[in-house]
């Protein structure tokens, strides 16, 4: 068995918010509370969840943009969490990130060539000017941009092209892992497909591992090997993509999946969805026991007192009452 590229154990991120009163304790927001997963080389891990479930914070913790605690152990046995900036630098070329807003993630005052070259300038100081330019052009060609556009500025490109620039910037240092934080949610649907297919192709060619964050379940299904479902900073379900979509065990996953529109009006009209009542509870004051119990159709007394552990063989679920969808939980879609 190959060693995993990254093993996360009990990964936590907490933010301290300023106290409301002068003598009150600062309030604590637990954005990610104890996430575990392993990631194999070349694998794609999809991460889904509602807004505010801690997906993006998880990504930022893995890349060291927000302080975290716990373990995220890299292939060579180093825990990346809490590493000094100097020691982290070595791993920053191995882990790169693609951001959500294509235009905002590019410096408007820099040319495309300068933007894509920035990681190279940071990590490969041995390369000469011409070599860097050649590599940038080569990478632009790989992501489907015309290399002769190297001197253009981000505002001269469309959203999809900007995201290609972002991908080129991430891949130029030949990373082993690329974290994509909702890379397509700001793009048109037709462009989304192009960018996702590009990511898939590049992944195959370069042997990349991807952590793919999205709130669009069908996008995640298309690209992921395994899918991790998050709710309020915790993992609800983690399984092979096929298994998860065919047989969701956790009521939250079932609710999410039931809300995915079907591109067939007849089926769509007959479809039943599981209504999720209410809002996401505040992560400053999460519910006791199972964090999903306040909105769960299966919640019982046990759920309020005891937090379910993530368990199961290949298909991990954090629920006291996992299992297939029950008929009484369905309601006709309005």
């Amino acid at each position: 068995m190959t060693t995993p590229l990254m093993t996360a154990r009990d990964l936590r991120v907490r933010f301290e918010l300023p106290a409301q009163g002068l003598f009150q304790k600062p309030r604590v927001l637990q954005a990610v509370s104890g996430v575990d997963f392993t990631l194999m080389p070349g694998e794609t891990l999809g991460v889904v969840g509602e807004s505010g479930s801690g997906k993006s914070t998880l990504a930022r913790a893995l890349i060291g943009l927000v302080p975290a605690s716990g373990h995220a152990v890299w292939q060579d046995g180093t825990n990346l969490i809490g590493l000094s900036p100097r020691r982290m630098l070595k791993y920053r070329s191995e882990i790169q990130m693609v951001f959500q807003d294509p235009l905002a993630s590019l410096d408007p005052r820099m040319t495309v060539g300068q933007i894509i070259a920035e990681p190279l300038l940071t990590h490969r100081k041995d390369l000469g000017r011409d070599e860097i330019r050649l590599r940038v052009k080569d990478m632009m060609d790989r992501v489907g941009l015309l290399p002769n556009q190297i001197n253009r500025y981000p505002h001269e490109f469309s959203g999809g092209q900007c995201q290609r620039i972002g991908i080129a910037r991430a891949l130029i240092v030949e990373p082993k892992l690329v974290i994509c934080d909702e890379p397509v949610s700001a793009l048109d649907v037709s462009i989304q497909a192009q960018v996702i297919n590009l990511l898939g192709d590049l992944q195959r060619d370069l042997g990349l591992a991807l952590i793919f964050i999205a709130h669009d379940l069908s996008v995640v299904k298309h690209i992921s090997d395994r899918v991790l479902v998050m709710y309020l900073g915790r993992v609800m379900e983690l399984a092979e993509a096929e298994a998860l979509y065919a047989d969701p065990r956790h009521p939250y996953t079932q609710a999410l999946l039931s809300a995915v529109p079907v591109p067939d009006p007849v089926l769509e009209r007959a479809k039943r969805i599981i209504p999720l009542r209410g809002e996401l509870p505040s992560p400053m004051n999460p519910p006791s026991g199972c964090v999903f119990r306040t909105r769960c159709p299966r919640a019982e007394a046990l759920c309020a007192t005891e937090r379910p552990e993530l368990q199961g063989g290949g298909h991990l679920t954090a629920c006291h009452f996992p299992g297939a969808l029950r008929p009484e939980e369905l309601s006709k879609a309005g």
Partner: protein
């Protein structure tokens, strides 16, 4: 076969001539050129600068010579005339006002530009550092600015000049000390709004050190605001220098500045030597107006919100 073909097409694409991009600066330059008032003002400023640089070549008299034929009879004989070479007339001591105005222009422009230059360099770096680093460092750095700001600077400047003697270095020191405070506040505010943008995050994620992020990403992106503020700062510097000189505390004879010349001219305006006031005042006014119009034009050109 396919591979060689692909390689060949790749090579062809890589060898294609590069398209020139249209940078945000080029866009701003185009918008600025369309602004007539700003372009005229820029032209005026260039003329004033040329006057300061090459004026001495045109002058018939040096600024140190006294015309003894005119001395003491400035009101009768010192009026502007081409015949005796005093294009702008003379002052009461018979010194050529043209070359004195050239000298005053040089000094005033230098004070303005150096004052604004200090403000731009110190204020930008200070504000960007405070804003980017944030937290306690930011608090300490900005409280220091608050404290310096609370000092009535004109009072301190006058005290400095009185205590340590009137000299150009003292004047630069005094003006330099206070000019960067506002700039650092503005820059800090801009930095705070930039700091959490994704492109800064992207640079941090790839491991670019903080000082490089400040210089490579933050400073170029706030340079528009800085440029606008700097052009508005130059006339303010000139004004405060003139004020000091008007009080008689600025530059020392034989050096002079617009403020000193205006002060002298205002002192003798009742004796029929109005030109002694008019010429320095004319240069003073058109320069200030031109700087304000250029600053205004720059703001329109660089501010993305008005597009």
């Amino acid at each position: 076969m396919v591979d060689t073909q692909q390689m060949r097409s790749l090579a062809a694409r890589l060898a294609e001539p590069e398209v020139r991009g249209r940078s945000p600066w080029a866009d701003a330059r185009r918008r600025f050129r369309r602004n007539k008032a700003a372009m005229v003002s820029l032209f005026v400023l260039i003329l004033v600068a040329l006057f300061a640089i090459f004026g001495n070549q045109l002058a018939a008299w040096s600024n140190e010579e006294m015309d003894f034929a005119v001395m003491g009879q400035a009101a009768q004989l010192g009026a502007p005339s081409f015949a005796n070479g005093h294009y702008f007339g003379t002052d009461d001591l018979g010194r050529d006002l043209f070359s004195r105005t050239v000298q005053g222009t040089q000094v005033s422009l230098m004070v303005g530009l150096i004052g604004a230059g200090i403000a731009v360099i110190v204020g930008t770096l200070y504000g960007a550092t405070a804003g980017y680093v944030g937290g306690r460092t930011d608090a300490v750095m900005m409280r220091l600015v608050d404290i310096l700001m609370s000092i009535p600077y004109m009072f301190v400047l006058i005290l400095l000049l009185v205590m340590f003697g009137r000299s150009m270095t003292m004047l630069f020191l005094g003006i330099g000390l206070i000019s960067w405070l506002d700039m650092s506040r503005i820059v800090r505010g801009q930095t705070l709004s930039l700091k959490n943008r994704e492109f800064i995050e992207a640079a941090r994620a790839t491991g670019v050190p903080a000082w490089k992020i400040i210089l490579r990403h933050i400073v170029p992106n706030i340079l528009g605001v800085v440029a606008v503020y700097a052009t508005l700062l130059v006339p303010l510097m000139i004004l405060s220098e003139s004020f000091i000189s008007f009080l008689g505390l600025g530059v020392q004879e034989p050096l002079t500045s617009w403020g000193a010349l205006i002060s002298e001219g205002a002192g003798t305006m009742n004796y029929g030597t109005l030109w002694q006031l008019a010429f320095p005042l004319f240069f003073f006014c058109i320069t200030l107006f031109a700087f304000f119009f250029v600053g205004d034009g720059l703001r329109d050109a660089l501010d993305p919100k008005d597009r």
